[in-house]
């Protein structure tokens, strides 16, 4: 695990993991707002023409970004600049296989390392296709963050965990981003099952939109992932979204920190 992840997940409170799409709105300002508001880990989405696992909000963010001409080079530029401004906040690139592998896994892993990216989430490279990215990322010292879902059964879990790093991302609903939320009881049960199988921190996402939901998840998990709710704010406020992003981040961060104190 990167030292930034290690430091983050030893904080006294669970981590707020915040997702925004690169190139949608004023990315640098929004990233700064996330950090200022208390986000512990940043997921920067790489836009793709065909975001098959995403709901309408993030689909639109992808298209807005691509329509503005966002390139892979731009995204690494934003990542490197973020690392200059925020030396301690873990940064994760999240996206789809084709933009990540088009120049080869080694190229991508090398660029990640150069830009100071700590981890990568690739939606459509499951454990079975690990050779596509996994070896290159591990060799470059970049954590490959794997996804576990409600359909990941106990027999399959070891394969998912093999080669995984950073944290384990539990996708709490079988579905796409930004839609329905999972029942809290099912999340509690799943997190307990996952934590019994791995020492990696477990972060929970998909359908988490409010401070209350985030707090409920924070009582059992090591991290809470929020994405589409940020994207909605950026869609509404465009290039002037940063203050709104910061305020919403703070409301989530406060709820998550409060939750753990109650639990303790």
């Amino acid at each position: 695990m990167s030292t930034r992840f290690a430091a983050t997940f030893t904080k006294p409170h669970p981590a707020l993991v915040a997702f925004i799409t690169a190139g949608d709105g004023d990315t640098a300002a929004n990233l700064d707002a996330l950090v200022a508001g208390g986000a512990d880990v940043i997921e920067l989405g790489m836009p793709f023409t065909d975001p098959m696992a995403d709901g309408p909000a993030i689909q639109q963010a992808n298209l807005r970004s691509l329509a503005k001409g966002t390139s892979t080079a731009d995204i690494f530029g934003q990542a490197a600049a973020f690392r200059q401004r925020h030396p301690d906040t873990p940064l994760v690139l999240m996206g789809y296989a084709n933009p990540m592998t088009i120049r080869g896994g080694d190229w991508f892993a090398g660029e990640c390392a150069k830009a100071g990216v700590d981890g990568v989430i690739c939606v459509d490279v499951p454990a079975e296709e690990d050779p596509e990215l996994g070896p290159a990322l591990r060799a470059a010292g970049v954590d490959l963050i794997r996804l576990a879902t409600p359909t990941t059964d106990t027999a399959r879990l070891p394969a998912v965990l093999d080669g995984a790093g950073g944290f384990l991302y539990y996708v709490s609903v079988a579905g796409i981003t930004g839609q329905q939320q999972a029942a809290q009881a099912s999340i509690d049960k799943a997190v307990a099952r996952l934590k019994a199988a791995t020492d990696l921190p477990v972060a929970v996402g998909f359908g988490v939109r409010t401070p209350d939901q985030a707090a409920a998840i924070a009582r059992v998990a090591d991290g809470v992932v929020v994405g589409s709710a940020f994207i909605d704010i950026i869609a509404e406020h465009g290039d002037a979204a940063a203050p709104h992003v910061e305020a919403f981040t703070r409301s989530l961060a406060d709820a998550i920190r409060g939750a753990k104190e109650i639990a303790a």
Partner: protein, 406 residues
């Protein structure tokens, strides 16, 4: 790419146990779908080993689809071109008017075996949607068809057909609102409904085992053609020609002949307005990448963003191609040639006038390639062209292109 390819002893043994044809194919899906994909593969292996499954498949193909489809000697077209003898494999005569139904029968039998109670599919021109809605009606299962909003508008007769058959048609508004986006939306729906829903993919693409099982269900085309040409001519053909979008009709014809070294095989890609302009020729104009669950040749930019395809034939209007075709292309067993909208349009009319057969615009691409190649071969040579579908669905598009007001 840089990988060296060793020619195998047989071209018919793929994919490997991980679903790869050389570097192509694979299972590039979200984790939520992965357990289901593995389950589908287990059920398919069991079905392959079960004589009752094959018996039911064969029964439905014979009595419901109307197989075997004829192998027609196109005598007037042959005389007109003055070269090789041209035979047409008449998939246009199948129930629902194209080869698509062969695969739908196979997959709905698998859905039944797996205990799935809902069917979904994507469609471009609507042919696969109609075939899926047809088998869903036959088996009494509710069915949802995802279709790009642009395609819904330009294929109204097929949309109405699907609705008559009891299917719900969802007009997909994302992206360019065509086949690629319909497939994205079908995958999104599937991910949220994996517990009870079977996705009938319409071509030899998507995550393993789809390219394999669709090929196997479509191989009835080549198996029959082989028997029929032996009966008619007493020998194997010198050449096979078929149109390739995703490539299911083509692989169905080609696969049983892949190990016959003397049979030359030609796949025809849609060159649209020409390879310099808008087209759908993934092999001629694309490079390997990952989309919709598999690695294959794709139309894309240097950052791996997928670019829009174009073909006058909605069934070929897709920026990718089945992974087995990508492999056959790379190892050189199959030669792929481009045919433009204009050439296909001319052949559409020519076949109609000379043989009294209105071919699908997809099939017209293969006819155009045959027109190009046949005159260069001796009269003793034999070509089988896959007439993959009938062209009734295309008459509005053709009238438009010819400037005729209906």
């Amino acid at each position: 790419m840089t990988e060296t390819t060793t020619l195998p002893n047989s071209f018919r043994t793929g994919p490997d146990e991980r679903g790869h044809f050389g570097q192509f194919g694979g299972r590039y899906v979200a984790e939520t779908l992965m357990p289901l994909i593995l389950d589908l593969e287990r059920h398919y292996r069991a079905a392959q080993a079960d004589p009752a499954f094959k018996a039911e498949f064969d029964h439905l193909l014979k009595h419901y689809v109307g197989r075997p489809s004829p192998l027609w000697f196109a005598e007037r077209l042959t005389e007109h071109l003055g070269g090789a003898k041209i035979y047409l494999k008449r998939e246009d005569l199948n129930h629902t008017g194209a080869h698509k139904i062969n695969n739908c029968i196979g997959q709905i039998l698998l859905a039944k075996r797996m205990g799935k109670t809902k069917i979904i599919a994507e469609t471009g021109a609507g042919q696969h949607g109609v075939a899926t809605a047809t088998v869903a009606a036959l088996f009494g299962l509710p069915c949802t068809i995802f279709m790009g909003a642009v395609d819904v508008a330009r294929q109204q007769p097929n949309v109405f057909r699907m609705k008559l058959l009891g299917a719900e048609v969802v007009a997909v508004e994302s992206g360019a609102k065509t086949l690629k986006d319909a497939m994205n939306e079908a995958l999104r729906h599937w991910v949220a409904n994996v517990h009870d829903t079977f996705y009938i993919i319409g071509t030899v693409a998507g995550p393993h085992p789809y390219p394999e099982l669709v090929r196997d269900f479509q191989s009835v085309i080549g198996d029959e053609a082989r028997e029929q040409i032996l009966e008619a001519e007493g020998r194997l053909p010198d050449m096979l020609i078929a149109p390739v979008g995703g490539g299911s009709n083509a692989i169905g014809l080609f696969h049983p002949f892949l190990d016959d070294a003397d049979v030359e095989i030609v796949g025809v890609e849609a060159a649209g307005e020409g390879l310099e302009g808008k087209h759908a020729a993934s092999l001629a104009g694309g490079k390997p990448g990952i989309l919709h669950g598999n690695k294959t040749y794709l139309l894309q930019d240097e950052d791996g963003q997928i670019t829009e395809a174009h073909s006058i034939s909605a069934g070929l209007d897709y920026p990718g191609i089945g992974p087995e075709h990508s492999w056959l292309h790379d190892i050189g067993r199959v030669r792929y040639e481009p045919v433009t909208d204009a050439e296909a349009l001319a052949s559409f009319q020519k076949l109609t006038k000379l043989e009294g057969i209105i071919p699908a615009l997809e099939s017209a691409h293969a006819i155009a390639a045959a027109e190009r190649i046949a005159p260069t071969l001796g009269k003793d040579k034999l070509i089988i062209v896959n007439c993959s579908g009938r062209g009734d669905k295309d008459i509005i598009t053709v009238a438009d292109a010819l400037g005729v007001k209906l």
